[in-house]
Symmetry: C2
Subunit: 364 residues, 2 copies
DNA sequence: CTGAAAGCGCTTACAG
DNA sequence: CTGAAAGCGCTTACAG
């Protein structure tokens, strides 16, 4: 590997001069700078090595993104992709690389190596100048570790932490508006589907206590927004079935959807994410229910595919969310300034919702 | 930041002992190791810093992925996503982070900073232990730079380089089989659509010379495979229109599709990628052509959405491709062993192809 | 504007 | 099994 010293020797200048040529152009004459670059090119020197620069206190030139559970999930969920795209678009402006950090799965036994010591994930050990955390549960060990490391952090969606820049939505109000839409159409027998309230592997009917203690903040806020609005219209919380998928796989979604449709007599469902709502629609259709005549479905996110499927949903600007998170992080890295942003949502009515059919309760 | 020395002092051992505790467990007694970890935890030490370790010659613990043009594109193309997913799935096994490197766009003036010096992108300067290059054109400066750096590299799809591990398909044969399918159905007036043959901004009708000199290896191989098979059935290359989109945006695809349908009287089109084929189908439908009755369309990739759209296509295992590329890279990093893999493809007939309608040439 | 020197945190021969 | 020492490539006060 060609180093600065070699370039300096060949160019007849000090090693520091070469460093300045790359990182502090104002400290060397432009003639000398040109000469140094010429020699560097001849020798095949491609610029300061990241490790050396970083060790000395400089920037690495990369930001990290911590995503839920696994990188595989990060690359298959479409909303997540939009977020990453937004981050990438902003990142390019500042010439950074995006590093995706797998966040170790938490579990009853926590995440230890074979010797019982808690491993820091690769990205927490200096690979990045800052980290964007996307939708991790409250109390997640990986979040604590990154905060403890003291590098700049921006949280998207969850968890909300004191003094940490945050980008998100008013999930609760947006969810309330979704519920209001169904109420205005005349629905009274409404079910709720949610992907995951806490990373503990539980699924099925979610109790009021489980909902109020849910560590997945976004899921909790949405479900509470739904329930709050229904309650305001005189529908008791206890009469509204809330079914949790317990994971993010399509099979999890399908199972929860099936449970809701089989066990409860509802004319409409509120689904806390579009990917899950699309799966619910497909399950309902398979069961011979026609949408929206026999079942209304409302999603959340306006994810790719929602418009095509005619899904009524809460639209949120995911790409913009990523872009803003990147901006906030870059600002925190460069200036230490901290800022948070709440983005607006828009309720979009499509063809998956309609007035309930006139029929007797329990007619199915 | 807590360092090894501080942990060592607090634990009453040498700094080297702490290093060994983390990186060479066999060099310290398990009692001492436990004691060191205990002290580290108390002090909030999260393991060796990546910069220091990397500088000294160790592993960074991250692999890079170089993608076409821009990170934004990387996060919007569905086939690319599948590849990344495959890489990520394999990466998790080895506890690596995936770093996406924006590859600087090449152009007539090459890629220079304001002072005219060629910048190495962040990821080429030591941020990663190895790099997976995905589908870059031959002669791309970023590829040369990465190879020159001497770090382990695996190329997916393009370019093919002597002595560099490679994962790809037999694109030419697979394309030939796609053409053969149309010939067997009885088509004789066939057009070809391709996304990009070279990153020079040109679009529209591609001449034989442009095709044979195309630097985008995969696009070239597929087009040549089509033409070769058609020629073998007595259809002169010069009579087959080849339209190039010149970019990867849906608008580019739509424009090229429109040009082919407007200017040439074809009963079928061979499209060198599914994303473009889906766009071509949509353009054809907008023009009132019914598929497959009036126009047969064959794609390539079996990308997400192809099955739903009923697109007849060449299926390739994109996720597997990523997984294998990651395996090869990890092996190259760990052992220096180099290996290449050609993956099989499968031709899948769906509902976008049929026998041509009986009609006079030029009846439209 | 230029150069000599210190030191960032770490790993690994090497000597005990 | 343990420890003292060298040095990876770099940036940045500091002195000229």
């Amino acid at each position: 590997m060609v180093t600065m010293s070699e370039v300096a020797k060949a160019a007849g200048v000090s090693q520091a001069a070469v460093s300045y040529a790359y990182s502090r152009p104002s400290k060397v004459s432009s003639g000398q700078r040109a000469r140094i670059f010429e020699v560097a090119e001849e020798l095949g020197y491609h610029g300061p090595d990241a490790a050396g620069r970083s060790l000395r206190g400089g920037r690495v030139g990369a930001v990290g993104v911590m995503v839920m559970d696994s990188l595989g999930y990060a690359f298959s969920d479409p909303s997540n992709m939009q977020l990453l795209r937004g981050i990438a678009e902003e990142g390019e402006l500042a010439d950074v690389a995006v590093t995706l950090l797998p966040s170790p799965r938490p579990g009853p036994s926590d995440n230890k190596d074979p010797l019982g010591h808690r491993q820091a994930s690769a990205g927490m050990r200096g690979l990045v100048d800052g980290v964007i955390i996307h939708n991790l549960p409250q109390g997640h060990a990986a979040v604590d570790a990154v905060i403890a490391r003291g590098i700049p952090v921006v949280v998207v969606d969850s968890p909300k932490l004191r003094g940490v820049p945050y980008v998100g939505l008013d999930d609760r109000s947006a969810a309330a508006s979704a519920a209001q839409h169904l109420l205005a159409l005349g629905h009274r027998r409404i079910g709720i589907l949610v992907d995951r309230l806490a990373p503990d592997g539980r699924s099925g009917v979610a109790s009021p206590s489980r909902i109020s203690h849910a560590s997945d903040r976004v899921a909790r806020a949405r479900v509470q927004g739904y329930l709050q609005q229904l309650e305001a219209s005189g529908i008791a919380r206890s009469s509204v079935p809330v079914i949790e998928a317990g994971g993010f796989q399509l099979e999890d979604y399908a199972k929860a959807s099936g449970q809701l449709l089989d066990d409860y007599d509802v004319t409409a469902i509120l689904v806390a994410s579009d990917v899950m709502a699309l799966e619910a629609m497909s399950v309902a259709t398979q069961r011979g229910l026609s949408i929206p005549a026999e079942l209304s479905v409302v999603g959340f996110d306006d994810a790719p595919g929602a418009a095509e499927a005619g899904l009524t949903t809460v639209s949120q600007p995911m790409v913009e969310k990523g872009r803003i998170a990147a901006q906030l992080l870059l600002k925190a890295i460069a200036t230490g300034e901290l800022g948070s942003v709440l983005l607006p949502t828009e309720f979009i009515v499509r063809s998956s919702t309609a007035r309930p059919q006139k029929r007797q309760s329990g007619s199915r």
